[in-house]
């Protein structure tokens, strides 16, 4: 007898013992047929080297014992997520996700739906046999109404167990898929149609056109408790009633192949060109660490005021940290941030006992004023009544940040007013020109506001000179 060389499948299927061509599938199971159809399409289209098969959990878990192509085993239901990523990092790969009904339409339904919606470049082969195979005959999302399984022993009752899920019809609501079809392997004529469909799904991958979905109605004699012939008959006579065969969508002709990506800079080119960066901090153990806290309502520019001071400290080569309130706090209610300026690497970035406290509302004044260290300074908006007495040795200066900003026509610039107070009172020990530059830099994205804020800063300094007098 002449030996026929296998192409696309391994010479022997070691899953069922050494040197055998028997599969691990039961007699009359549709998986073996579909395996062969996928193999034929892969080989006929010359895609064997390019193919990455994503194997599911279910009876198809052992696909890699058969398919002579790159193989990946995915966790239960995750093949669509795994396949999405493979093609994104290997755009030349032909990705096939081979999944059963429990894997694809129960645990993995969201991944199926979302990957179809993204139009992932992937051919999905969906084996629908209306039952769980590997785990031993439990109800599947595609189990027919009234059908008895291990977990629907009295028959699937749609009132409590829902109806069979129509995956093709569901995916057909989405815009991105290129090809959606339902075929069957229950008889020879149907197998020939299934082969054409699978081939088309692979052609779409070969041509880089997008997402292709082939549902295959497939008999499972063992778990249906039927002979192979009767299981095939069940597919034709009952499953096709629920899941009619046919192509729901074929946009192959219109779909355009994906364009090659444009060249992009390397991270070094991207991050290290353009603006001149500040030098790193230098160690200066003699420098007395300064701890500042900025507090107020969200929207008052508290966080950006803190960044401005931190940036100015960086210009003086100090170690600097900025730690904000975040999450829901940031989106309403109180806002605060801590800034530490140091001559050595910073330990705790949260400021519990500030040397300088900036308060732009009453609640934050009342909450934090008691924490200021003796000899410290609190700059408090003049709208805040100072009913709570500051600790001994703490200087409190009231700055008309909110009202002055309104008066000057820029209510959002109350934080710039506060910066002026920090500058004029020498509260940060930082050079005024550095605070000025940091303020300019904070409007990098809105350069038209730079001049305006410089003018506002000047106005605020004048106000302070008039109302507060000499810096400390």
């Amino acid at each position: 007898m002449k030996e026929i060389k296998t192409v696309g499948m391994y010479e022997t299927f070691d899953r069922s013992g050494k040197h055998t061509r028997a599969t691990h599938y039961c007699a009359g199971c549709g998986h073996g047929i579909v395996h062969k159809l996928v193999t034929e399409a892969m080989v006929e289209l010359g895609l064997q080297d390019r193919t990455v098969m994503v194997n599911p959990i279910g009876c198809g878990v052992f696909g890699y014992y058969y398919w002579d192509c790159g193989n990946i085993g995915a966790a239960h239901g995750r093949a669509a997520a795994v396949g999405s990523a493979v093609n994104r990092v290997r755009p030349d790969a032909v990705v096939i996700s081979y999944q059963g009904d429990g894997d694809l339409a129960a645990i993995g339904m969201n991944h199926t739906f979302q990957s179809a919606n993204r139009g992932e470049h992937m051919a999905v082969i969906f084996i629908n046999n209306a039952i769980y195979g590997m785990t031993g005959g439990q109800m599947a999302p595609t189990t027919l109404v009234g059908m008895k399984t291990k977990t629907s022993p009295f028959g699937r009752d749609p009132l409590t167990m829902g109806y069979p899920i129509h995956v093709c019809e569901t995916l057909n609501q989405l815009r991105a898929p290129v090809y959606i079809t339902r075929v069957s392997v229950a008889d020879t004529r149907r197998i020939m149609q299934a082969k054409a469909a699978i081939r088309k799904a692979l052609e779409i991958q070969r041509d880089g056109k997008g997402y292709a979905f082939v549902e295959v109605i497939s008999p499972c004699p063992t778990n249906l408790g039927l002979s192979p012939v009767k299981a095939a008959k069940f597919c034709i006579e009952q499953m096709e009633q629920e899941f009619p065969l046919g192509t729901l969508r074929d946009n192959t002709a219109e779909a355009t192949p994906r364009a090659a990506p444009a060249p992009k800079p390397t991270p070094q080119e991207y991050f290290e060109s353009g603006e001149t960066a500040l030098p790193p901090a230098t160690v200066d153990p003699g420098f007395k660490e300064l701890r500042l806290k900025f507090t107020g309502f969200g929207g008052q520019g508290i966080l950006s005021l803190g960044i401005c001071v931190a940036e100015a400290a960086r210009m003086e080569r100090r170690f600097t940290s900025w730690y904000p309130s975040y999450g829901p706090e940031q989106r309403g209610g109180s806002a605060q941030c801590s800034v530490v300026i140091s001559g050595t690497p910073i330990g705790c970035p949260a400021v519990d006992h500030p040397d300088v406290l900036v308060c732009m509302n009453r609640p934050s004044y009342e909450r934090y004023i008691g924490d200021v260290v003796p000899g410290g300074l609190a700059i408090v908006d003049s709208t805040v009544p100072l009913e709570v007495k500051p600790p001994e040795g703490v200087r409190v200066v009231q700055m008309s940040a909110i009202d002055l900003a309104i008066e000057l026509g820029v209510p959002k610039a109350a934080n710039t007013m506060m910066l002026a107070a920090l500058m004029e009172l020498g509260a940060t020990g930082l050079k005024p020109e550095h605070l000025q530059s940091a303020l300019d830099a904070s409007f990098k994205k809105k350069p038209e506001l730079v001049e305006k804020n410089r003018a506002l800063l000047k106005e605020a300094v004048n106000w302070l000179k008039e109302h507060v007098g000499n810096p400390r």
């Binding site: 085993g73 795994v82 975040y326």
Partner: protein, 352 residues
């Protein structure tokens, strides 16, 4: 030398890009979202892949897929999302896949809140999914390390063919500090011998974690444990003022920084305190810690119920035959332990 003043979360992505990470898959969650924001902007700008997944389960399985295809891939999340990712981490450990997961811890259990905690220690360090596996685990304490340890996580994960976790917390992720950009790009690892790339050369390769035969599965587990035993060569830690210390504060991440300020304060008050901080939590720097402690008084500082302290004790007792107990100074629920609290606890330990 280029510097940037950025959030710890953003520094992660700079590290990832310099490490050669090809793809980021992620799902938004506070306080880790800035990592996804930075990736969404900077990955495509440098010709890398960014995809917002439908959930954390998808994110981690996408990372699994990209890693299977021989690419360097990552994701980032926080507690609730990290819990969902345990399935994928177990599969990656089982399939021998390198990848990096950054988790920025928030308060739990359950929904908890978004403020800093360190309570996901065991999940990150011990292997939070099913099976006898563990992930490499690195614990950054500042923005520079969010970058540098992400690079190191990729290096170690490729070296050992296993996922690496960068274990940060909300405070380290949210705060801004100066980052000095890495000096050079990392070399691209060759994954052709094992990955599945859709090429003739990689056609025979298979990525899976199934061994149906129990003795074969057992052998795989024995080999895994052998591999974990080799991690000790990559151990990293930092000691601060420990040489003459009469008490050593131990903690990782943000807790170590609070301990650092507390140690400085204690010294002003006449107590010679030092700080020991593991930079790698797996491998745990047991030998260095044992040498630093050397029978001295110790105090563990953490933002959790004692998971870190207990692990340190386990390592010390099992491998260094030291210590039955170490007192704990901790807060939970998103309350950050203060310098004052650490100082007071250390004084109590010293009987002053």
């Amino acid at each position: 030398m280029t510097t940037k003043f950025i959030k710890g979360n953003e520094a992660v992505i700079i590290g990832a890009l310099y490490a050669g990470c090809d793809a980021y898959f992620g799902y938004p969650i506070t306080p880790a979202s800035e990592i996804a924001h930075a990736a969404a902007k900077w990955f495509p700008s440098c010709g890398r892949e960014f995809l917002q997944a439908e959930c954390e389960t998808a994110s981690i399985n996408m990372v699994y897929g990209a890693a299977s295809a021989g690419a360097l891939a990552m994701t980032a999340t926080s507690g609730p999302g990290f819990s969902l990712m345990q399935e994928g981490l177990s599969y990656m450990a089982g399939a021998g896949l390198p990848a990096v997961v950054v988790t920025v811890m928030r308060a739990g259990p359950g929904l908890g809140n978004v403020y800093p905690e360190q309570a996901d220690y065991n999940q990150a360090v011990k292997g939070g999914g099913h099976g006898s596996y563990q992930c490499l685990c690195l614990a950054p304490a500042n923005a520079q390390e969010m970058c540098d340890l992400t690079i190191e996580a990729f290096r170690l994960s490729v070296k050992h063919r296993t996922p690496a976790v960068v274990l940060a917390d909300g405070l380290i992720g949210q705060m801004m500090e100066t980052l000095t950009l890495p000096e050079k790009m990392c070399e691209r690892p060759d994954t052709t011998s094992w990955s599945v790339q859709g090429t003739a050369k990689t056609r025979p390769n298979l990525i899976t974690s199934i061994y149906l035969d129990a003795p074969t599965q057992e052998k795989f587990n024995i080999d895994l444990q052998r591999k974990y035993a080799t991690y000790t060569e990559d151990v990293r830690s930092e000691s601060y003022l420990t040489d003459d210390a009469e008490i050593v504060l131990i903690g990782y991440g943000i807790s170590s920084r609070i301990a650092r300020t507390a140690a400085e304060q204690l010294r002003k008050e006449g107590i010679r305190a030092g700080v020991f901080r593991p930079i790698t939590l797996n491998p745990f720097p047991t030998a260095t810690l044992a040498a630093v402690l050397d029978g001295r008084k110790a105090l563990a500082v953490e933002l959790s119920a004692g998971q870190f302290r207990d692990d340190a004790l386990m390592h010390l007792a099992r491998d260094a035959k030291q210590y039955h107990d170490i007192p704990l100074c901790h807060r939970m629920g998103g309350v950050v332990v203060t310098v004052d609290e650490v100082v007071a606890a250390a004084k109590k330990v010293m009987g002053r």
